[in-house]
Amino acid sequence: MAKDLAGGTAMGRVRRWVPLQALFLVLLWAAAPAGADSASAASAKAGQNAAPAVATSGGSSATPPSEPPPSATPSGDTPPAAADFKTIDQDVQGLKKEVLDLNRDLFVLEEELLFPANTQVAVFVSMDVGTFFGLDSVTLKMDNKEVTNYLYTEREAEALLKGGVQRVYLGNLKVGSHELVALFTGKGPHERDYRRGATLNFSKSVGAKYIELKISDRAVREQPEFEVKEWE
């Protein structure tokens, strides 16, 4: 008996082979109709399988892209409860999309109403290379009044180094001349605490004003450079 279990005797080998052969035949039988269209049973089955796929591709507008592909179960076999569930799921996805669209529209509308183009001032921060400066925070003073103080996490600083441009301030200013002071803190060359300010006197006319605070490396002096420039 012990030898049988180990597959040592001829009888044991036969006992092990018979179920394997049976399994192989079942698999062969199952695979053959799928590949060959000639058999009527196979074509009927293939037709059933293809039906839901065609219906799905036709109704792609209602189906969100994140939805998983339809299962291979023939549509006729789908229980009514599952079909209902699918419809509810599609409805929920549709509603979510509508909410997102509405949210976007409201966001745009809010900006247009709260920051009209004729008074709007936006300040952006960008970073180039960053070998000599690790950004920690930016403080902005508009006409000697602090308007923002932004702390940068490691991920945010990395995003700036990868080419990201961040809108650090959006506000309203009346027409005329104004002064912007930007104060940068961080780690300078040799990991020393670094604090530097940059000032820009600008004139606000009718129309939006965009200002960029650009941090770059000055390789010759091995120092960071802080530039404040107006976008035309």
């Binding site: 109403l113 702390l151 996490t153 490691e154």
Partner: protein
């Protein structure tokens, strides 16, 4: 007519936009903030989206805060591997004093310094301690003002529920 439409639009937008001084209200989006830790690292709350976060406001002069911190430390020990993030916001003016207390209380989670009280104002803090439980979507699920013995059971129940979601 145009004015009425504008007024309605403003009402809608102001309702939709979280006000700058929005307090943490149950069911609402948690007000975001960034603060520096005692170790000098900057942390932003929104970067923990996807985790269950417990934000705890405290100060060294608040005795019930110290009592609460011991319970929170136990919770943190037990559930941090399951995805619980604990952030404590200290309101002391003196960071050295806060660091000393944090060391004595053996706080193992980040201690964020709100010396300027910007975040306290944002959350419209009226008393201490204040604990805010935030789910993985960034929604405030519970606000616990104050602390008394036995409150940790409520924290535990809520946290376990949120971790399972």
């Amino acid at each position: 007519m145009a004015l009425a439409v504008l007024a309605m639009t403003l009402a809608v937008t102001s309702a939709y936009t979280p006000a700058a001084g929005a307090a943490a209200t149950v069911g609402g989006e948690v007000p975001d903030f960034a603060l520096r830790t005692l170790e000098g690292q900057n942390l932003r709350l929104s970067e923990f989206r996807g985790e269950v976060v417990l934000v705890n406001f405290w100060a060294t002069w608040c005795s019930s805060c110290r009592e609460q911190i011991a319970s929170l430390e136990d919770l943190h020990d037990k559930y941090r591997k399951a995805g619980l993030v604990l952030l404590s916001v200290n309101l002391d003016d003196d960071a050295v004093q806060a660091a000393d207390m944090a060391r004595r209380l053996k706080i193992s989670y980040p201690v964020l310094m709100d010396g300027r009280k910007d975040v306290a104002k944002l959350y419209q803090l009226e008393n201490l301690p204040l604990t805010v439980l935030v789910d993985r979507e960034g929604t405030v699920r519970q606000v616990y003002p104050g602390f008394k013995k036995g409150d940790e059971k409520a924290y535990l129940e809520q946290i376990r529920g949120l971790l399972k979601e």
